[in-house]
Symmetry: C2
Amino acid sequence: MGWQDIAADKRSRIAASIPAEWNIKPIPDGQATFDYPATSGVLSSQELDLTGYSATELVAKLAKGEVKSVDVTLAFCKRAAVAQQLTNCVHEFFPELALKQAKELDEYLAKEGKTVGPLHGLPISLKDQLRVKGLETSMGYVSWLGKHDEEDSVLTALLRKAGAVFYVKTSVPQTLMVCETVNNIIGRTTNPRSKQWSCGGSSGGEGAMVGLRGGIIGVGTDIGGSIRIPSAFNFLYGIRPSHGRMPYGKMANSMEGQETVHSVVGPIAHSAVDLRLFLTSVLQEKPWEYDSKVIPLPWDSSKEDAAKAKLKSGLTVGFFNFDGNVLPHPPVLRGVELVVDSLKKNGHKVLPWAPYKHDFAVDLINKIYVADGCADVYKDINASGEPAIPNIKNLLNPDLPEANMVEAWNANLQKWNFQVDYLTKIREFEAQNGELDCIIAPISPTAAIRHNQFKYYGYASAINLLDFTSVVVPVTFADKNVDKKNTEFKPVSEMDETVQAEYDPEAYHGAPVAVQVIGRRLSEEKTLAIAEEVGRLLGNAITP
Amino acid sequence: MGWQDIAADKRSRIAASIPAEWNIKPIPDGQATFDYPATSGVLSSQELDLTGYSATELVAKLAKGEVKSVDVTLAFCKRAAVAQQLTNCVHEFFPELALKQAKELDEYLAKEGKTVGPLHGLPISLKDQLRVKGLETSMGYVSWLGKHDEEDSVLTALLRKAGAVFYVKTSVPQTLMVCETVNNIIGRTTNPRSKQWSCGGSSGGEGAMVGLRGGIIGVGTDIGGSIRIPSAFNFLYGIRPSHGRMPYGKMANSMEGQETVHSVVGPIAHSAVDLRLFLTSVLQEKPWEYDSKVIPLPWDSSKEDAAKAKLKSGLTVGFFNFDGNVLPHPPVLRGVELVVDSLKKNGHKVLPWAPYKHDFAVDLINKIYVADGCADVYKDINASGEPAIPNIKNLLNPDLPEANMVEAWNANLQKWNFQVDYLTKIREFEAQNGELDCIIAPISPTAAIRHNQFKYYGYASAINLLDFTSVVVPVTFADKNVDKKNTEFKPVSEMDETVQAEYDPEAYHGAPVAVQVIGRRLSEEKTLAIAEEVGRLLGNAITP
């Protein structure tokens, strides 16, 4: 079979995994699919209700026996099936396995009178990088299809222990190394709010799936924005924990063994509260006893308490809306301003943060991504004969030479020195202004972007290089009546010019806009507490 | 100037840094110099007393004003000068700067009525890898001489903030990558107990200096035993903290940027209590605000309390005395046995631990050390024209090819997989036996070794690959009347045969023997508490 046949076979297997009665016909041909699930007729009104709760509410109801996992799971399976048909966001769909797992959990609760763990009975959606025993992990490569995983990833196994139910693995771009979601197997995943816009990437399937509430918490990964961009483009919350907080063991990955900048795994959800539920549930399983890279650092609620006290007494917040490389589009500049104004109005001290050498940081991380001359990703692409997707060359140019060890070690050293210098800048700021509680910044220079237009990763990737904790908070939507073209714009670089030229008030009208709340390394407790408050101040703390 | 002249100049500068009245003449020509400082006449009896306290006692006295830092510093400067003349363990000696610093601290205390920090006025000895503003860091390379550091290393700066006084930087082997201490600048550093034995390495100058109480706490580094071997060879305690616990920022190093296995920094001292003083004092300064690699993990005394409770209720201890590669000499086998018996006798459960794939681990770490084809170290050696020291080729063969990126990333991945598998073995053990509190093992296959005979690093380096916390505890001394040659010995490898052939009961009579107490990653609180108890059971908890 040629690669086209293998890909077509996978597509027909995905289609066949959806029971006939969950098919929606005809597929709506409008651009926005966001409101469709409610009126699709696939879910009963009770099922629609079940998919409308927060995960935190659901686990409480499940634990009390007020709702059954089979009912919750069935509801999410149906809604996921609808989401797939609307946005093309699925790589693996296995409702039968899920319902079997849910049934066992219901029986356990009935018999034992207690839950197996804090996520008892809750469906969790997985990016197609996490291995589930018995299923395929393609990661968007045709050449990976047809192999079935022999064991769970560490995180899958621990989520399972905590009581999570698995039912779907969502789409990713070929290689994972781009912030849109397109591959030669399933094609392109679109944004629920408009088929013209990207769902983001690389955890783009999660963005679309959770965005449409086909999932309540989705698991993504991030080495240059891949959790945060899909969160931002779908008006969701997402956290990029620092490396070492969540277990990445036994997951599939591109460029395995590249450890100058680590990819990290974390949740995408509708609220900061649900992100916290995910983190605390995983940490309760002591992931450091299973994955050597996880730091033995249980969730520390005293750090949350300290953060909450600070929220009352007043935060000291830094912000920037221009990293020196690429000026964001008007809706994003307005988004940052909204957050800054809102914080100031509520008694917090908000001061400009000078982004220190982000140009250097972005150059360095881009070099790190291609240190092997892109050999790893092109090996997996070429193994099937499939072509590279269009977006890839933004980051991964196959004509680049491989680094040698001196260069590789030098990159490690440059990264460390940059991080140390950044800490110095923070201390200098603090000597003037007191403790810096977080930094507010754009996560992308654009609102949810039109296809094939994602060019600049720097707002996200500089934070990966620093390994800072970052939480994306949804802010607003682009508005053609307010967000006019920037007539004063003077580009500082070719990239700056290219990105700004893409802005079109009409085309972006209604596209989600977000910021990231950036905290120090391993500050998940504090940064999440602040992000929750930012969302609350914006009126986005709970989304429908 | 040729390299010989540069080296000779440095030697004469070291000699000139010792005030004439601290010179001992004639230098004793016996093999053992261990007891000499007490009768050298350089120190008054009061000064001898001051150098006899533990660091913990001294900082308490200093804080109360019962002793002055200038007196303590002067005593240690004198004793360090004697140690240098006996063992050749110094690279930089600067008593004037030290006494000036001590005077300022005394004045501060007198004026402010409080200390600057937990190490107020305490002299701390530094391995010649830590930078002190204004001084040279040669690290044993002739080509590095003549440059003066423009700033302190992060650790130096934080120790200074905590009140430490600096007076000496101690000798290391050329490259740091061997476990004996010899370079072309100062020659060889010897063991205070016999000139025939090595002081260990690469923190060998610290081993000799602290061994002779020319230092009370010395700072070493360890990427394959370099803290633990000198501790063992000098009947001292030493801790290899896990990576990320102590700040390594802005220190000199070989192979900077090699991050598959990290060198770590930690103290060498006469007691576990003094090791703890060092760790708690540094952590109090929040090193994570200065060095991005340090995990924000303050000292957690609740973990110590839990460990102490476990000491009462009974530990579960694993042990091994053969890693499958190289059988230790009889004194070391007896050392492990002594510890095992002692633990058992005191109600602890001690079970065999099967060292999982240590052969693989040792091979892998040896490959990691030479990933750049040894380019980095030979560049610095060749820059002056000096020859390589004899021991180097044990680990660093200049004829090796450089790894490529695929191999380098593969090494990262192999290390991670090995660590994860090791955690699985621990969980399997625990499923049978309950929580594994620590593992007792040899740190070297030999007691303090004869010169040029250190060949096998595996007992130490496998633990570096795992990044486990490890504390060396002094146990006993080789005894020709007990530790007979092993007549049943059947070598499993050439290395095994070579190492065992070196054993000679007569030559090793009296040489220090130690074990390492190994705990999980980042278990400094617990592992140190257990190590302290092991020392106590052996009667080695406080040494003169």
